[in-house]
Amino acid sequence: MKPAPFDYARPETVAEACALLSEAGGGATVIAGGQTLMPLLNLRMSQPFILVDINGIAALKGVSREAGATRVGPATRQAEALKDATLARHLPALVKALSHVGHYQTRNRGTVGGSIALGEPAAEMPATAVALGATIEIASVRGTRTVAARDFYLGPYMTVLEPDELVTGIVYPDWADGHTVLFREVAQRPGDFALTGLVGAAEVSGDRIGRVGLAFFGMGPTPIRMVRAEALLTGASLASLDVDAAAAAGVADCAPFDDHHASAEYRRLVGKRILAATLSEAFNLKVAA
């Protein structure tokens, strides 16, 4: 199995990469880890004229702190992010989600930003960016812009990125120290695409839930932010929290589909159950059988 022929360039700066993308006039594809792109190339589902390899751009790698936020370079390998002390301290939900991305072997090559820019609807990284309220930094020869992760995804593998644009950073806002991590995923085998999964964070103070961010993956054409469940949970008292109502509100925003792995009905049912179970476990609530 061979990809269709393409040319290859390995720029060393963001400016060079942007110039290559611009000159290619839509015929170029960016490769970072390539753990999803390479199968698409090998199967000839993707046939770019030029592959722009961003692995040589040092500025796109690594994790850094900004005022009230953590910035992840898009070409940071998933395996490196998984071991990163800054992420462990500030973004435990991201680290938890990363441990479910692909397999040991693909995390050694796959990148955080590659997964985010590609927009596979069942992937953990896009949903995590949506749930945590991340901002995506984008560059092109026309300038730079930032887009909220919540406005970034249009459909399966479709994002607001123009063909000449490159993701240059993902900025995750801080959540209060000691915040609660919400994560659960159902897949046929570890490392397989999720049939359904959820990720999020919640700030709890005393009996009251403060800020909440929640998103489903594998539950529609894009990661699905649980707008209604977030509204119901924000400010709620743990003592009187109706977990089943919150779970019902969570799946109300979803649009799951049927495929040969699972039906939409199954995804909706399991999605609701894992949301109820995750909330009960996270907030130490008794589950109503």
């Binding site: 199995m1 040319d7 060079e16 390479m38 199968p39 397999h103 040991y104 072997q105 693909t106 090559r109």
Partner: protein, 168 residues
């Protein structure tokens, strides 16, 4: 400005030996190792990142050689299955454990399995059974039913083999 190329000379070190050969931009690392350099121990099967048979170490990390281009491995150090055993033929502990526990049958998936276990145990000599089994989620084996591989993993983790363990 970086060059745009459709073909280039790729230099890499494989199992300690330096090599250099021409590669099309679209040639995968796995195909390059097999066809250009003759390291046919690396087995390409699904070629879309599912089966794990083609796993090699690139700069010490286990990766799928079908999901990486040869041109991307320019300047890298690669370890293939041919590089695991010692020069005198003494098997790597992972190979020995797979051998002793019927962890292979037809052998097609084995180079990838052995490379993954070698990488995991090198990074963490105290790797637990659970850790090694989780890393094995990246491999498909059609022959062994996995139980032989799991027995090899238990041996690598220093567990005493259970004489009543499931046998084939």
């Amino acid at each position: 400005m970086s060059d745009i190329v459709s073909r280039k000379t790729v230099a890499m070190t494989v199992n300690g030996h330096r090599h250099s050969a021409e590669a099309d931009a679209r040639t995968s690392l796995g195909e390059f190792l097999r066809e250009a350099l003759g390291y046919t121990g690396t087995h390409l099967a699904c070629e879309h990142g599912v089966c794990g048979a083609c796993t090699v170490m690139v700069d010490g990390a286990a990766m799928r050689s079908c999901l990486m281009l040869a041109v991307q491995a320019d300047g890298c150090e690669v370890t293939t299955i041919e590089g695991l055993a010692a020069a005198d033929g003494t098997l790597h502990p992972v190979q020995q454990a797979l051998h002793e526990n019927f962890g292979l049958q037809c052998g097609f998936c084995t180079p990838g399995v052995a490379i993954t276990l070698a990488a995991v145990t090198r990074d963490n000599p105290q790797a637990s059974v659970a850790e090694m089994e989780l890393a094995m989620s990246g491999h498909i084996c059609r022959c062994t039913g996995y139980q032989g591989i799991r027995r090899a993993i238990r041996q690598l983790a220093g567990e005493t083999p259970n004489p009543h363990a499931e046998q084939h």
